[in-house]
Amino acid sequence: MNASRLTLKNIDIRLHGQILLELDTHVEPGAPLTVMGPSGVGKSSLLAYIAGFLSPDFQASGEIYLGERCLNGLPAEQRKVGLLFQDPLLFPHLSVAQNLMFALPSRAPDRARLVEQALQAVGLEKFGHRDPATLSGGQKARVALQRLLLSQPKAVLLDEPFSRLDAHLRQEIRQHVFQTLRDAGLPTILVTHDAQDAAASGGPVIELK
């Protein structure tokens, strides 16, 4: 997989004229950047800005590069930036396999086989036809990650994706997500207020105040 770094140049996000966040850094594949801080400091706004759906109530400036490609001005769906939310957010009206199929680019050949492989990779090969509501929390989290990977992103953003999981699952899913993203060689930004998340990521940490 061709990996390229994610560069954040002079990012500056304001709400009603007040500075929420300033950032100037870059993220290498395999070394996830962790952004930590209490709630309300604009961590999620940073992810929304990179992904391309920051609400127009905010004023933001600064350039985002994925390799040589400038993302500014591109609509969210053309940025190739995947996002894991706090909740797995499996589309409730689609089956598990349809959730994965939806993420797959339309030009991909042999779509059914790719979906089948993605389910196999997380031990859920029998679950394709299931209603996502019948899956356990851990299974949902795995499907959400597989769905993100099938959309073939070039960078990944994690918005406290482990905070809603039970304590015993959190460790396991965290390992699984970081390992998978490292193997895929994707530059990753993790937003969290859990120090254990930061430690598990094995990359640089930025603390916001």
Binding site: F53, A76, E77, V81, G82, L83, F85, F102, D131, T134
Partner: protein, 560 residues
């Protein structure tokens, strides 16, 4: 394309209203070239003011416009106060939507069957309690004060206000407010009245103004239950408009302007009263009354609502009984025999009104849902809410129908437009669009924005996201909005009568036409048919999404 939707919607709602109101101004002052009336002056007004009983007609319209919303509001507030936090509120939400589907005319006919001198209520009491062997000679229906008419209006407006209140309440966190006040020593009902009611009222203001406009200018309910000598102003306008003497149209124009003034004064008086009541309310609230009258409020709140909704349900049941009743002598409680004869006799003339009704409902609902969904989707893609447009949505509901629809009809006649289904369908959509918007806006905006964002990060374009994610997830509320639109279209009497030039017959126009001179059984059959179609719409809107998503558990909770 999407960007044009809000403007298209407001254009559709506002232009006809403005055009209609403008069109009655000149004729009201004696200028209508089509009838060789070209000398402006005040003669028309002089004639109007000299019309016998005109003052009484105006007073009837004004009092109906004020008392109907007042009574409905009091009942709804008392009921909500006495049932807050109980299972009642939940049960009521299920009952209210189908009741709202019953057209005004059908409810009015049912009520007439209930309270008329030969009606069901007196049959139950006679002869045991009253000693009457024949229907008493009492003027209960069409009473000169318009009490029966107002009762009929209140019965229909209560479900409307209740639905609006139940939809608005969750955002106010009523349980939290009540608990807080109770820890300060207030009994539950007073706690609700002091802490929730003042926050709820502003959210009911626009719906209340719509009730004022409707009640002060109703035609169909007035024809069925209202006074006849003289009738309310709105009925007289229609009478003059359909008079063979075309010069009466000048009079109708002036009366329509008067109607507008009456409705606006009713709203104005309401606003003045609001201010005074708010001051009194604050005084009581700050007086720290905690305990007094609790039992009375509790009983009154629940029983009055049970009586009102019970009367409405009983009225509907009476429509069913009458539709199958054989000979039914007074004071027997039930008909002596049953027959399907009434249905057979209606069957032969049913086809045209039924197909017109369905076509008009389909046309106006499809147009309305397309416009409203496009406008809401545009808003959602902008990422900013635009609530100030709510007033514009309400315009056709705040201006008395009879005033601008009459003007619109005058205008269309002068432009020599052929009246027909298409035109009537457009007229219906003036009222269908606002209700579809009111029904759909809240669920559409409440859909978690993360679904859209997630879909975009997976590489789906906004259009693909809409078709594959938002449309299926919003299927249930969209189906409900369609049912609401259909019900509103079916209930339209005046819009059909005026813009159809009396030549487009629907279930509603047929039913209302029977108000004078139809037999009870024939009336009952038409009124039932008129209620059945919207009811069927609601049943489908609730069951189809449930069936469709039977294998998707998380899609079943979202049925609103």
């Amino acid at each position: 394309m999407l960007r044009a939707a809000p403007w298209l919607m407001f254009g559709l709602l506002i232009m006809p209203v403005l055009a209609g109101l403008t069109a009655i101004v000149l004729p009201a002052f004696g200028y209508l070239p089509a009838l060789q009336q070209t000398e402006p002056g005040l003669m028309v007004w002089r004639e109007l003011l000299n019309t016998p009983g005109i003052g009484r007609s105006a007073a009837l319209s004004l009092s109906a416009g004020l008392l109907t919303p007042l009574l409905s509001l009091l009942l709804v507030m008392l009921f909500l106060a006495s049932t807050s936090g109980t299972r009642w509120a939940h049960a009521m939400r299920r009952l209210v939507a189908p009741l709202l589907a019953v057209p005004h005319a059908a409810a009015a006919f049912g009520l007439a069957f209930l309270i008329a001198p030969s009606g069901f209520a007196l049959r139950l009491l006679s002869p045991e309690l009253t000693g009457w062997q024949r229907p008493p000679d009492l003027l209960i229906l069409n009473d000169p004060l318009g009490l029966a008419m107002m009762l009929g209006l209140v019965l229909k407006e209560i479900p409307f206000l209740l639905l609006m209140a139940l939809a608005a309440l969750p955002q106010l966190n009523p349980d939290q407010r009540v608990t807080m006040a109770r820890t300060l020593g207030y009994r539950p009902i007073l706690a609700w009245l002091w802490t929730v009611a003042p926050a709820l009222y502003p959210l009911l203001r626009l719906p209340l103004f719509a009730v004022i406009a409707f009640a002060s200018a109703t035609v169909d309910v007035a024809l069925i239950l209202g006074p006849t000598l003289p009738p309310p102003l709105s009925v007289r306008i229609i009478g003059w408009f359909s008079d063979p003497d075309l010069n009466r149209r000048l009079l109708a124009s002036a009366a329509a302007l008067l109607q507008l003034a009456i409705t606006l004064s009713a709203i104005g008086l309401w606003i003045v009263a609001e201010k005074m009541i708010a001051r009194l309310y604050r005084k009581l609230l700050l007086g720290g009354i905690r305990l007094s009258g609790h039992a009375l409020l509790n009983v009154a709140g629940k029983s009055l609502m049970v009586i009102t909704l019970g009367a409405l349900l009983l009225s509907l049941l009476l429509l069913v009984i009458h539709a199958f009743a054989g000979p039914w002598r007074f004071p027997a409680n039930l008909p002596g025999s049953w027959t399907s004869q009434h249905w057979l006799s209606v069957g032969s003339v049913l086809l045209a009104p039924l197909s017109n009704t369905l076509l008009l409902g389909l046309m106006s609902t499809v147009l309305a849902v397309l416009l409203v969904v496009a406008a809401l989707e545009h808003e959602s893609r902008q990422g900013k809410a635009t609530t100030r447009l709510l007033w514009a949505i309400y315009i056709p509901l705040l201006v008395p129908q009879v005033a601008f629809l009459y003007g619109l009809t005058l205008l269309l006649e002068q432009l020599r437009w052929q009246p027909g289904l298409l035109l009537v369908g457009f007229a219906h959509s003036l009222f269908v669009v606002p209700y579809v918007y009111l029904s759909l806006a809240e669920p559409y905006r409440r859909l978690d924005p993360r679904w859209q964002q997630l879909s975009a990060t997976l590489g789906a374009s906004p259009n693909r996201t809409w078709w594959q994610i938002k449309l299926p997830m919003l299927m249930a509320p969209i189906a409900t909005a369609c049912a609401v639109g259909l019900a509103v279209s079916i209930g339209q009497y005046l819009a059909t009568l005026l813009t159809g030039a009396g030549r487009v017959s629907t279930l509603t126009t047929e039913a209302v036409a029977l108000a004078s001179g139809g037999t009870r059984s024939t009336i009952a059959v038409w009124a039932l048919l008129q209620s059945a179609v919207p009811m069927l719409g609601f049943v489908l809107a609730i069951t189809l999404p449930r069936f469709w998503w039977r294998n998707r558990r998380d899609m079943r909770g979202q049925l609103t």
